[in-house]
Amino acid sequence: MLARLTHLDRLEAEAIHIFREVAATFANPVMLYSVGKDSSVLLHLAIKAFYPAKPPFPFLHVDTTWKFREMIEFRDQIAKKLGFDLLVHINQEGVRDNVNPFDSGSNVHTHVMKTVGLRQALDKYGFDAAFGGARRDEEKSRAKERIFSFRNAQHAWDPKRQRPEMWKIYNTRVAPGESIRVFPLSNWTELDIWQYILQENIPIVPLYFAKRRPVVERDGMLIMRDDERMKLKPGEVVEDRLVRFRTLGCYPLTGAIESDAETLEEIVSEMLTARTSERQGRLIDRDESGSMEKKKREGYF
């Protein structure tokens, strides 16, 4: 007697199907690996999709040089353990110009180090398809995006001219220079991600779990002082508080939440009673309504 598929079974099958479709139809795909929980799930699914072979594409991390130190450690440890081909790209022009979240502002920093850095890396290696871990439940403009999302030769997304996407029949054709961003987790929700991490026992960065960490209150957010580059403003004090992160990015732009959730079950239970969305901890979304769409049109993931 064969069992009916569960909700997670269906989501998993859809993602695996998408991975294989790209491997079968693109010349030079890459998976964007951003070290967060969604990337961890994506990596896990990529491995399942091609087992017993290894995923037939490299993994790319666009390092802004401002990620949490624990993220970089985790990244290197996972790459070593799984033996996958990890490419790390840093926008050296941005480093040279000393672009950073404090002096340049979150918008400029994100644009130069992340969006431009990503475009540089895609051009450098000539990737024609790039997997990302974005989900439609994260944000309004993401809710509008196709699973196979076309980008012109300048890496720009034109939300008004998206290709129709019928059934599971994906149009994977691109002209030279053009590319497709592919989102296997499009139909997953935040709860699905946690539930899958729990079910499959997927390793994630410890920053997601509550621990006493040195934080500073700034602009209504709790920013963890991960290294000496963060200068204190007058009146600011570093306190050790019991905190964790719902999403991970550049440490100066990622707000911690006060929490005592130390296990996956406690995280889920906390999430079920949460009154704010996970992106609330992201400074870059706050600038103005529609800011995510703008970034995506410029080539942000």
Partner: protein
């Protein structure tokens, strides 16, 4: 204070398990502009408590800026995620939203009402099981209600909720509700819906959305959410015949060869016999490989990797199927087509047809009729414009394996892609295979192309001269033929003007006729190469897609595209037949370069820039090119001449 951690963890796991067992309903909201689709979804999300505080405060901010509901929160702004949408107060593209209740999980596609964005509505409908068709109680059933209902039906949706919205604005009048409901039922009686549920609602105020309204005491049916939670979802039956489109062949080393794909229907167990659809070869399933341990069996919807007990040939695009209930394999079939592109469907033009995993060149050989969305009348048509629906016969360059769409939504569907722009221009639902191809078998003859060409001591070729009228195509082709003839070649010239007087005299100069014109000439050229001739085709042939189609008809290396590149101004000056004068004065319509486009070749074998060169010099370029090619080819074979 934390609760007992062990007990808390246990209850979280129980909760998650119950979530995991819930069924999923995918539905869409559709209907005309301003019928309140986005508002309804905003209301559903809000009433089922799926909106976070930070999202609510952003919504309040946006409502003040862009809202259309005065001081109240405009729920439509929750789903209209694009800036252009919020500014214009309309929905352009489909948005996907997720929510769940105690009984079920939902993915809802909020689709645009404007006719020009119908393709985005179709995108949302293609993966949905149920459609909520919104109708404004003040307007009743309008054209867009019908168009969306027809598309939903064609795309295989079997359940419809007719949400008669803004019922508050007609004073909760039961007669209005009854009239619209029966009008819809009458209209939809031929659409094969298995359930139609009319519900009076006010999306803005929430009447009968998630809670029963006190304002419509006469209504005794379920609320919208009640119905969504209880309607029976037609899951792909695991009792249907086994269909496994091969998506990817996993071959990490010589010892492992796995067929990866997603089961489209049915189920499979280790030991089962399966058949390769296109070849009829059979084998048994030896393993179902998965990380963490092989599986004993798998069901429809599962993405798996199969290993067979024998080496059978099956690459991407083929299908492994149940031996006793096989799909059809044919290169000709009839299908419903929904057209998406600004450039209309042109019978005779070659498109790329894609099924879930197969890809093949295909043309619409016969547009049987267009469906009038107001009265279902079948209308004769020469092409399908954007958002139109029609029934077509399709001819593919190679056979594909398929079921009818009515039998299987996965193996009976395809999309059409434009060869040049790579745009997805249409979607198709297969009605039935056409048996013609089976009856007209290719005659297997003892004397073949090779023998005929040998007798002439030459290699067949097609010189395809393309360029504007008056660019010099025919003059160059004529001189080249003389020279080839003089050197002992067997040649023939197909000239645009000459062919139009005979074979193609029934064709005019519309885009559709131009496409057919080129198709016929290309087929004739192919027969002539089969006869062993060197063919010189001298046709304006303005569209890249048709030249590409002609190229694909010939054997590799046989098609030589010659771009006769003369500037437009020069052609106008020469005007050997006085045609430009007439076209520019407006008395001659659809003239290439004037009011009909010419798409220059991007990568022709030979690019002749004619300005300042005599015909002799140009033909010399062609001869030199041929000479160099022959030297190259002599290293591979000893064919004579061209």
């Amino acid at each position: 204070m934390k609760a007992d951690p062990v007990q808390a963890a246990e209850s979280v796991r129980e909760y998650l398990e119950s979530q995991n067992r819930k069924s999923l309903l995918r539905f869409l909201t559709c209907g005309s502009v301003d019928d309140g689709k986005s508002t309804l979804i905003g209301r559903l999300l809000s009433d089922t408590r799926q909106i976070f505080e930070d999202q609510l405060s952003a919504l309040e901010r946006d409502s003040r800026k862009h809202g259309t509901t005065g001081d109240e929160v405009d729920f439509a702004l929750l789903v209209d995620g694009l800036e252009a949408e919020r500014e214009q107060g309309i929905t352009i593209d489909v948005a996907y939203r997720f929510f769940s209740t105690a009984k079920r999980k939902f993915i809802v596609a909020d689709t645009p009402g404007h006719e020009q964005y119908t393709r985005n509505m179709a995108t949302g409908a293609s993966t949905a099981d149920l459609a909520i068709v919104l109708v404004d109680a003040r307007q009743g059933v309008v054209a867009q209600t019908r168009r969306h209902s027809i598309i939903a039906s064609l795309l295989g949706i079997r359940h419809v909720i007719v949400a008669i919205n803004k019922i508050d604005l007609v004073g909760f009048d039961q007669q209005i509700f009854d009239r619209i409901a029966s009008e819809y039922r009458e209209f939809a009686k031929d659409l094969h819906f298995s359930s139609i549920m009319p519900i009076p609602i006010s999306a803005r105020y929430g009447d009968n959305v998630t809670t029963r309204s006190a304002n419509s005491g006469w209504y005794s049916g379920p609320t919208l959410l009640d119905h969504l939670e209880t309607v029976a979802v037609d899951e792909i039956s695991i009792d249907a015949p086994f269909r496994f489109p091969v998506q990817y062949v996993n071959r990490p080393n010589l010892d492992f060869r796995g067929f990866a794909g997603t089961i489209a229907s049915g189920s499979v167990l280790v030991g089962d016999e399966v058949v390769v659809a296109k070849s009829g070869k059979s084998a048994r399933v030896k393993r179902i490989v998965a990380q963490g341990g092989d599986l004993d069996g798998a069901v429809s919807g599962q993405a798996i990797t199969l290993v067979l007990d024998e080496e059978v040939e099956a690459s991407r695009g083929n299908m492994l199927v149940a031996p006793t209930a096989r799909p059809q394999v044919a290169d000709q079939f009839a299908a419903n087509i929904v057209w998406f592109d600004e450039n209309g469907l042109k019978p005779g033009r070659s498109y790329i047809l894609r099924t879930e995993t197969d890809q093949v060149g295909a043309t619409v050989t016969d547009l049987k009729y267009r469906i009038n969305i107001n009265n279902f009348a079948h209308e004769a048509a020469k092409s399908l414009a954007m958002n139109e629906v029609g029934i077509c016969n399709i001819s593919a360059q190679a056979p594909i394996a398929f079921d009818t769409f009515a039998e299987n939504r996965t193996t009976g569907a395809f999309i059409l892609i434009d060869r040049m722009s790579n745009a997805t221009v249409g979607a198709g639902m297969i009605l039935h295979g056409l048996r013609r191809a089976d009856n007209i078998h290719w005659q297997s003859l003892d004397i073949g192309k090779h023998e005929r060409a040998q007798a002439k001591n030459q290699k067949p070729a097609v010189f395809w001269f393309t360029g504007l009228s008056g660019s010099g195509k025919s003059t160059i082709a004529n001189l080249l033929e003389k020279k080839l003839h003089a050197s002992g070649h067997h040649t023939y010239i197909l000239d645009g003007d000459n062919v139009r007087h005979g074979l193609n005299r029934d064709l005019g100069f519309t885009d559709a006729d131009r496409v057919e014109n080129i198709r016929r000439v290309a087929e004739v050229a192919r027969l002539m190469t089969d006869a062993g001739l060197v063919v010189l085709v001298s046709f304006i042939s303005p569209f890249r897609a048709e030249r590409q189609m002609a190229r694909e008809l010939m054997e590799k290396g046989e098609f030589i595209e010659v771009f006769v590149d003369t500037p437009f101004e020069e052609c106008v000056k020469r005007d050997p037949k006085g045609l430009y004068a007439r076209a520019l004065s407006g008395s001659l319509k659809n003239f290439t370069g004037v009011d009909s486009p010419y798409e220059a070749p991007e990568d022709p074998e030979i690019h002749l820039e004619t300005l300042g060169k005599s015909t002799e010099e140009l033909v010399e370029i062609l001869e030199n090119w041929l000479h160099e090619r022959d030297i190259e080819q002599e290293q591979y074979d000893d064919g004579g001449g061209i």
